[in-house]
């Protein structure tokens, strides 16, 4: 099959174009020579199937950023039959250097000048024919946003693919010295084919930025936008999540329970409480992830994410993170899973890993449910809000401490030099496509892992078959008593330890697990907890719940996003260690003070 590589600088609308060409039928795949996954899609062109690969956006073929190396290694080990070069027409005078670099490699090229509509608004006129003549490659103007100019471009691609590849020169590095030549040629082509007004007219972006990036107003506006986004995602998401939960519950009660009634209790338990609940766990995340990425696509495509980086960088740079990491950290307070997926906007792998290490400490809405229940049971109505607030502070503290401790280990070599794109209205198509791709990615990557995890916890809490579920005689109970020497010093008893094991599946089920363990529910459970625990123990339990790994879905996401099991295990291990240390310091400190 012929291979077409999509190449271009960041912010050229490359991915939108890719989605349009492939019609969204893309899949993630691994390629020889590189460690990151790339999106690719197969389409029918002139009677042949052609594979199109979306390479990361790069500024410079000879650069040293992670993405630039990925592109070089990809080209080296997977020589494409054709490179489709996407340039942003509004920045043609700067972007042409990449095209000329590619041309020097003697690759088979077709050039698409994207955002032709926007260039027109800036008063930039480009003579495509003339430029094509000067450069000796086919050049087409088009608009990925509105979908104009496609048929001609596709035709040219089909034609270009008929010629055999001249063979790829392996002289990438030696070409570095030739930048002088590139500059001269750039000047020549630009002079003859492009006219740019000396002073760009003041546009909407500048007017907006004067407010959005205002020295005093910028940060309050940023927090207001984040707050609204957060509220929107979870106000819309929670009812959707409940509907999905109810629908799955109804399906179970009306169809699965009767159908499995004939099976032995242990088997139907394994299938329904284990596997089916695993499916339900996955399904519960679907509405949240779709909503999250619908809104994130809006923030990202509109150009505001780079503005957030500008506003928050002063603080985040000291933590070894950047402003975009802060946005994800905030989103983590709703749900860690989409926040972890969202770190994909960061191009430096080290910084992305550090951000992923920090996000699970964000007090998500699932943990909030546990804390609301326990504070209501053990604290006076006056003290409860203070207790909740203090947990939010601990959440931030855990994130900051982790970032400070590990920023040396995950040192980003990527310079913080970002392009600030103009504000753009993302089209509905772009937004929906993004949500769809992300949810497919999540389902494909995380489902098996999550279901396996849920089944494992079910086995732990139900084996041997003779024991009462979640009782002291089950494997989980044995594990609980085995670990008592570790948990006793932080005031957590055996029953609570079993609940913490359940908590690995999802924090939402911790209270449900306690109900099973104690054989009580609702206010009766609250009362029993209140009698058995004092506030120091309860707070220690909440601290531990706050800091250790949020849930199996977060673990699965972290594994699929980092593609590194070692890193994932490290993140789990560190969160457990930090949870124990903080609970220990709190519990022993409070006891030493006489509480």
């Amino acid at each position: 099959m012929k291979r077409v590589a999509l190449l271009g600088m960041p912010n050229t609308g490359k991915s939108t174009l890719f989605n349009r060409i492939t019609g969204g039928a893309a899949r993630v795949g691994n390629w020889p020579g590189i460690t990151v996954e790339l999106l690719s899609g197969k389409i029918l062109l002139g009677g042949d199937m052609v594979e199109i690969i979306d390479l990361p956006g790069i500024y410079d073929l000879h650069g040293f950023s992670d993405d630039e190396q990925v592109v070089r290694h990809f080209l080296h080990d997977n020589v494409p039959d054709l490179a489709l070069v996407i340039l942003n027409a509004t920045q043609i005078e700067r972007q042409m250097s990449l095209l000329l670099q590619l041309k020097q490699l003697n690759m088979n090229l077709v050039v698409l000048l994207n955002m032709a509509d926007e260039a027109k608004k800036y008063g930039i006129t480009i003579d495509g024919k003339k430029m094509s003549e000067l450069l000796g490659v086919p050049i087409f103007l088009l608009s990925g946003k509105y979908g104009t100019g496609y048929p001609e471009a596709l035709q040219a691609i089909t034609k270009a693919l008929r010629y055999p590849t001249p063979g790829m020169a392996e002289q990438l590095r030696s070409q570095l010295e030739q930048d002088v030549h590139i500059e001269a040629e750039m000047a020549r082509v630009l002079k003859h084919a492009v006219q740019i007004p000396a002073q760009l007219p003041e546009n909407l972006t500048e007017k907006l930025d004067r407010v959005m990036l205002h020295p005093w107003l910028g940060l309050p506006i940023f927090f207001a936008i984040m707050y609204l986004l957060f509220q929107a995602i979870f106000l819309l998401g929670q009812p959707l999540q409940e509907w999905v939960g109810e629908a799955l519950g109804w399906l179970r009660e009306s169809a699965l329970d009767p159908a499995f009634a004939g099976l032995p209790a242990w088997l139907s338990g394994l299938l329904l409480d284990g596997a089916y609940n695993g499916v339900a766990t996955v399904a519960a995340f679907v509405p949240l992830i779709v909503l999250f990425f619908l809104f994130m696509a809006m923030v990202e495509d509109s150009g505001y994410l780079s503005r957030a980086a500008f506003l928050m960088d002063a603080l985040m740079a000291r933590l070894g993170l950047d402003g975009r990491g802060f946005v994800m950290l905030l989103m983590g307070f709703g749900c860690n899973v989409p926040a972890l997926m969202g770190t994909r906007v960061m191009r430096s792998r080290a910084m992305r890993l550090l951000t992923m290490l920090v996000i699970p400490f964000s007090l998500c809405s699932a943990r909030l449910q546990v804390f609301v229940f326990i504070t209501a049971a053990l604290f006076s109505p006056k003290a409860a809000p203070v207790v909740l607030f203090s947990l939010y502070l601990f959440s931030f503290a855990a994130a900051i401490v982790t970032a400070l401790l590990f920023k040396g280990k995950f040192k980003s070599s990527e310079p913080f030099v970002l392009e600030l794109p103009p504000y753009r209205f993302p089209t509905a198509y772009q937004i929906v496509m993004r949500g769809w791709l992300e949810i497919r990615h999540f389902l494909r990557r995380a489902t098996k892992f999550i279901i396996a995890g849920v089944v494992l916890i079910w086995l732990l809490t139900n084996l041997p078959p003779s024991a009462a579920p979640a009782g002291g005689d089950t494997l989980a109970g044995m594990l609980g008593s085995f670990m008592q020497p570790i948990f006793a010093p932080i005031g957590i008893n055996e029953q609570l330890t079993i609940a913490l094991i359940f908590g690995f599946v999802a924090k939402e089920i911790v209270i449900g697990a306690l109900a099973v363990i104690y054989g009580l529910s609702g206010t009766a459970l609250g009362g029993a907890l209140g009698q058995q625990l004092d506030w120091v123990q309860a707070y220690s339990f909440m601290l531990f719940t706050l800091i250790y790994m949020p849930c199996i879905s977060a673990i699965a996401t972290m594994r699929s996003e980092s593609r590194n099991m070692g890193f994932t295990l490290f993140a789990i291990g560190w969160s457990l260690a930090l949870a124990w240390l903080m609970s220990f310091a709190f519990y022993q400190g409070a006891r030493a003070l006489g509480y």
Binding site: E93, D179, D209, L213, E414, P415
Partner: protein
């Protein structure tokens, strides 16, 4: 005109890039974004709390940290 560094410019000021004293990775990135000696550059704004700078070269707006801006020698216009 005496030369200074990009980080000392005030918002609204124009300057000409004189030299870039950056390590290779940063140098490459700056070149790709259009930083070249002789080019005109405008400082658009500075973020609060010693945050990054927003500069404009041609039609491109770029964010960079102050530490990186000190490596770029410019001459006020």
């Amino acid at each position: 005109m005496p030369s200074t560094t990009l980080s000392t410019l005030h918002p609204g000021e124009f300057a000409t890039i004189v030299a870039i004293h950056a390590e290779e990775a940063l140098h490459q990135r700056l070149l790709a974004l259009g930083f070249r000696s002789g080019k005109q550059i405008e400082l658009i704004r500075k973020a609060s709390f010693s945050g990054p700078l927003q500069v404009r070269i041609g039609t491109t707006d770029i964010l960079l940290r102050r530490s990186e801006a000190t490596k770029i020698t410019v001459c006020r216009v």
